[in-house]
């Protein structure tokens, strides 16, 4: 077995003690500009606060699929639409891939086809246009019960379309 000498181990500790804060700074800077780098020795911060007094703010994401026959909409949660993706990765996946309208517009034809096929599969009938919808739900606690008092659509972007 290869063993490290005590001197090397001490040097390793000094390196790690310098490296860890430095990489954390880099993670912070790169994270602000684009997204969290990997691999990095960090745990999730969950720094956001959604509760202010008795008012609660929740971000809701859905995929709205238009049914070809009657143009009615059916909504699917990301968990339903991207059923293969683990729940722990879904919110991040949606944020990275669907939150930017520019990125959605840049999807190539094979990606749009994939969305259509998934829409067809979930509806059991041909899908028409597919939209990504980001809504903000505000809730208040009345008599001990949580009630939704307003829902605002923050973003609605067409992902896949069928020509009329």
């Amino acid at each position: 077995m290869f063993n490290l000498s005590n001197k090397t181990v001490k040097r390793l500790f000094i390196f790690v003690l310098i490296y860890l804060p430095l990489q954390y700074a880099v993670v912070g800077i790169v994270g602000l500009k684009s997204s969290e780098p990997w691999p990095a020795f960090v745990f999730p911060g969950f720094k956001s606060v959604y509760v202010y007094g008795d008012s609660y703010q929740l971000n809701d994401f859905v995929l709205a699929v238009e049914i070809n026959d009657n143009r009615l909409m059916r909504e699917f949660t990301p968990r339903q639409f991207f059923y293969e993706i683990p729940n722990s990765q879904l919110a991040g996946f949606v944020r990275t891939n669907l939150e930017s309208a520019v990125d959605i517009r840049a999807f190539d034809s094979s990606t749009r086809k994939w969305f259509h096929e998934r829409g067809n599969e979930l509806l059991g009938t041909p899908a028409r246009n597919i939209y990504y919808v980001h809504r903000r739900r505000h809730m208040t606690r009345i008599d001990g019960r949580l009630k939704t008092d307003s829902v605002k659509v923050v973003k609605r972007v067409r992902i896949a379309e069928v020509a009329d």
């Binding site: 077995m1 990997w38 729940n87 944020r95």
Partner: protein, 362 residues
Amino acid sequence: MGNNWFDRWIFESYQPTIQGLALFRIFASLLILFFLMPDAAYYTDLASFPDDFFTPPPGPMMFFDSFPPAWFFYSIHVLLALSWICVLIGFKTQKASIAAAIFMLILLGFIFSIGKVNHQMLIILLPLLMAFSSWGGAYSFDAGLSGKKTKANGWTLTLLALFIGFMMFTAGFPKILGGWLNGDTFATQGHLLNQYFIRGRTELLSGYMVSMNIPLIWGILDWGTVFFETGFLIAVLRAGWTRLFVCFAVFFHFSTMLTLNIAFLVNFPAYAAFLPWGKIHESIASLVDLNEKPYTIPLVFGGALFCLFGIIKIIDKMYLLTPTREPSFDELALISGAVLIVLTLGLKKAIGLFSSVRTQSV
């Protein structure tokens, strides 16, 4: 703090025994092989996603422009499993441990290139550090073939503690900046509502917690979380404090599993490194005649764990007790088991302290 203190901290904080490390090696390998390997069923899905979904995080995965084919994932998966099997039986343990870390790094790198990084570095770091601990120095093919006695390297545990402490700090520090310590913003409650209403995590105690509206408790949870996560970095300075914070970590993950339905089992092999494995070995050794059959201990210990983990896995796969997947039955059983172990150790410690105080006073 002088150089001596630094040396003592590195080399004397932990004094593991070679047999204790060997038991930990068997435990960690089996735990990972049974429960913490990436889900192989996901590889075909990943490989068939459109290239636009390949959004790697900043880092080495940016050198690729699409997901690799499924056969690549399966090949690395097999190599990862083989590496952990070698670690389990102690065959070329050091190289196998390093290989396990590298293969896990590759697999997770591609899995996280879907646009979301999960924070699972400890499962990569653990075999990488323990490769230098001599955890293959007993109850292993390596020990049998070389016939040499090796020295246990406790500094690997100090380094592991440092990494855990720092990573915990990186979870706690942004919370302070984000306003978790403000009296009128209940961040834990907000995350609970988000998980419950948006992500559909509605199992176990989450419904009860959603209906609970006691500001004092929510405030305490916010403050407690920040104290625990940032305090871990200071706890790293002493082995006793680290062990105490590892116990807090077990309760922390248990409570997030019950309320937010987020089970972070992936950290538990690293936490388990701080169990008193030397004492566990002594307890088992007192029951068997080591001179007669020296390999009874690893066979009994490994066999018992194999059966226990096998039963948990079978129940999990059959969905006998929990029809939903989050948290899964294996996560529920193992994290609850960890809580029981911590409670038992705490009780033993308390009884020991109480009897020593009584003896002194008499």
